[in-house]
């Protein structure tokens, strides 16, 4: 079985967001990590490999620096890494990102493609389903469990108040939730091997069956009209009072605001 896992290098919004003096985000000062949902997707692929035997390829699109997440994935146990990088692909929205990744995937044999549900920088959850549409294969989003049954996958697809147990014939695409599993750590031997392995680097010319009009900033239907760092509402009153004074103060405020 051949599994491709699409992963993304993202700034770590959890570890502490850094701001410039002018209040904008200091992206350069923030650490980067493998996107958590993608990492769960990778772990799911590696477990399928352990269980049934599979060749696991990791693919990422990004700046040359994104090679780091491929190395990390290979140190966890992925067999091959592909980096899709090219200046003309920059500034892509989800549409142009999905056409790019689909263009890369057309070069590879796959039975199962796994992506994370969403990346923590954009939080859109769009790229996985859009890739599947471009490749004309079924998609099962929000997977909380993935099993293989012959030539099909059986996935628990999560909704707000239920899950569906869904069966799809491969090839298909599944988007993984970080709740899916606890990703393994890199092993020292794995890290050593990962740095010995070749990473395949593809540019625009290597993408199959994609028109220039669907790539990069120019190929993105959505355009940013305005972007700003969130203006936070200023802090209100903060008081340190004895409990009974504090309660009186709060009841006064709730009356003043007509809550009671």
């Amino acid at each position: 079985m051949k599994i491709v896992v699409c992963i993304k290098q993202v700034p770590d919004t959890k570890g502490g967001v850094k701001f410039n003096p002018d209040g904008t985000l200091d992206r350069g000062a923030m650490l980067t990590i493998m996107n958590p949902d993608d990492k769960a997707g990778l772990e799911a692929a590696l477990r399928l490999k352990d269980q049934y035997g599979a060749e696991v390829t990791v693919l990422t699109m990004g700046l040359p620096k994104a090679e780091e997440v491929l190395r990390e994935a290979m140190a966890m146990g992925a067999d091959n890494g592909i980096l899709v990088t090219d200046r003309v692909l920059g500034g892509a929205d989800t549409w142009a990102t999905s056409t790019t990744i689909a263009g890369a995937l057309r070069n590879i044999d796959y039975d199962l493609i796994i992506t994370g549900r969403q990346a923590i920088d954009g939080d859109t959850a769009q790229v996985g389903p859009q890739i599947s549409e471009h490749l004309d294969i079924p998609v099962i989003s929000y997977a909380q469990d993935i099993k293989v049954d012959g030539d099909s996958v059986i996935v628990q697809r999560q909704y707000e108040d239920r899950y569906h147990e869904v069966k799809a014939k491969m090839p298909c695409l599944v988007t993984a939730l970080s709740e899916l599993n606890e990703p393994r750590y890199m092993t020292p031997g794995g890290i050593f091997d990962a740095y010995d392995k070749e990473i395949t680097v593809w540019g625009r010319a290597d993408l199959k069956d994609v028109d220039d009009s669907n790539l990069g900033l120019k190929g993105s239907p959505t355009k940013i009209a305005k972007a700003s760092d969130k203006v936070r509402k200023g802090a209100g009153e903060k008081v340190t009072l004895d409990p009974d004074e504090a309660v009186k103060y709060l009841i006064g405020k709730l009356e003043e605001k007509h809550v009671i």
């Binding site: 936070r232 008081v239 340190t240 504090a246 009841i251």
Partner: protein, 347 residues
């Protein structure tokens, strides 16, 4: 693509088990505003099996027309037949705007449909308005009027971006639940009902549902609550949430929580406020024993009134709170509950 051909504001009227989801009514409320700015009308797209009877409800909440796609293949949500239904409606009726709820269904359906009809999609919007693109005229660059401007948080709520889709139609957005306002239902309102079936032929993309497992939970929807009494790890234990339950009961409010509380297994995920939980904006939000990490405040800072109680005077929650009390919640909360009870009884 002739953009002029595309007219009208369409809403995907999500239903589950033949019950319309609250998000559909919220979207209709917003769609009415947008349609009035554009001098056009609002169409709800109702997709399912045996769902025609739900059309009147959509009319009461603001739909001028309801397009019903009814087919046995659409009984339970599956990506492919629903995508085929909505994409076919778009290709046939050419709306200029399509709104979809940012639910577990909509966040799968939206991207697949947008890829099929070849247009942009903006995810998880919190503000939608009609305006010019570019917003400000730059040199001789032409400015397009009457564009849908879609505003959404990104980067864990740290940045806000406003997005337009100037050269493709329809302009598509998924919209966060609990953000847009429903209208007061107009009893007896009727919509023009149009039945449309593009034909459904199962292929390999029609996945098979083997089993539907409903997670029976007696959980309220915190995004609907007017008063939320929210607890964090500082509450100390699952048992100690009783203090918050009591306060919520006096105020007719609902208890919610931070992520740490869910991670510790004290409360269900459905009650979680924040970036990976729900966005809420109640009239009053009590943050009790919640430190106020950015992932939490992203989901609640638009509440009308925020009251924080925390023993750590440096807790970041005080940066977003209107009224902050530095102190011991174990003493303050029960006393507050008792005195509120008395104060309300005297009114």
């Amino acid at each position: 693509m002739n953009l002029e051909e595309y007219k009208g504001v369409f809403v995907f009227a999500q239903q589950v088990d033949n019950e319309i989801s609250s998000i559909a009514f919220e979207l209709l409320g917003k769609a009415k505003d947008l349609a009035s700015d554009l001098n056009t009308d609002v169409t709800a797209v109702l997709v399912g099996y045996n769902v025609k009877g739900l059309a009147d409800q959509l009319a009461e909440y603001g739909a001028d027309k309801v397009i019903v796609v009814d087919d046995p293949e659409l009984k339970d949500y599956r990506t492919e037949p629903y995508t085929h239904a909505l994409a076919s409606v778009i290709n046939e009726y050419k709306p200029e705007i399509v709104l979809v709820g940012a639910t577990a269904i909509g966040r799968d359906l939206g991207p697949r449909v947008s890829a099929r009809v070849k247009t942009g999609l903006t995810a998880d919007c919190t503000v939608l308005e009609i305006g010019n693109f570019p917003i400000n005229k730059i040199g001789n660059q032409p400015q397009k009027e009457n564009q849908l401007l879609m505003t959404r948080p990104a980067f864990g709520g740290n940045t806000i971006a406003t997005i337009a889709c100037p050269d493709n139609r329809p302009q598509m957005a998924t919209v966060r639940a609990g953000v847009m306002q429903k209208i007061d239902p107009i009893k007896g309102a009727k919509a023009e009902v149009i039945e449309f079936n593009p034909g459904f032929t199962p292929d390999n993309k029609y996945v098979e549902i083997l089993n539907i497992v409903k997670e029976v939970k007696d959980v309220v929807d915190i995004s609907e609550a007017k008063i939320l009494v929210s607890g964090g790890r500082g509450v100390g234990s699952a048992e100690n949430f009783k203090l918050l339950d009591d306060l919520a009961e006096v105020l007719g409010g609902t208890v919610s929580c931070s992520r740490a509380v869910v991670d510790d297994g004290w409360k269900e995920k459905e009650l979680q406020v924040g970036q990976t939980g729900k966005t809420v904006r109640p009239q009053v939000y009590f943050a009790i024993g919640i430190s106020g990490a950015i992932q939490h405040t992203a989901g609640m800072e638009d509440s009308d009134l925020i009251i924080a109680i925390n023993k750590d005077e440096n807790a970041p929650i005080f940066d977003v709170a209107d009224y902050g009390i530095v102190g011991d919640l174990n003493k303050i909360v029960p006393m507050l509950t008792e005195q509120l009870k008395a104060a309300i009884a005297n009114k």
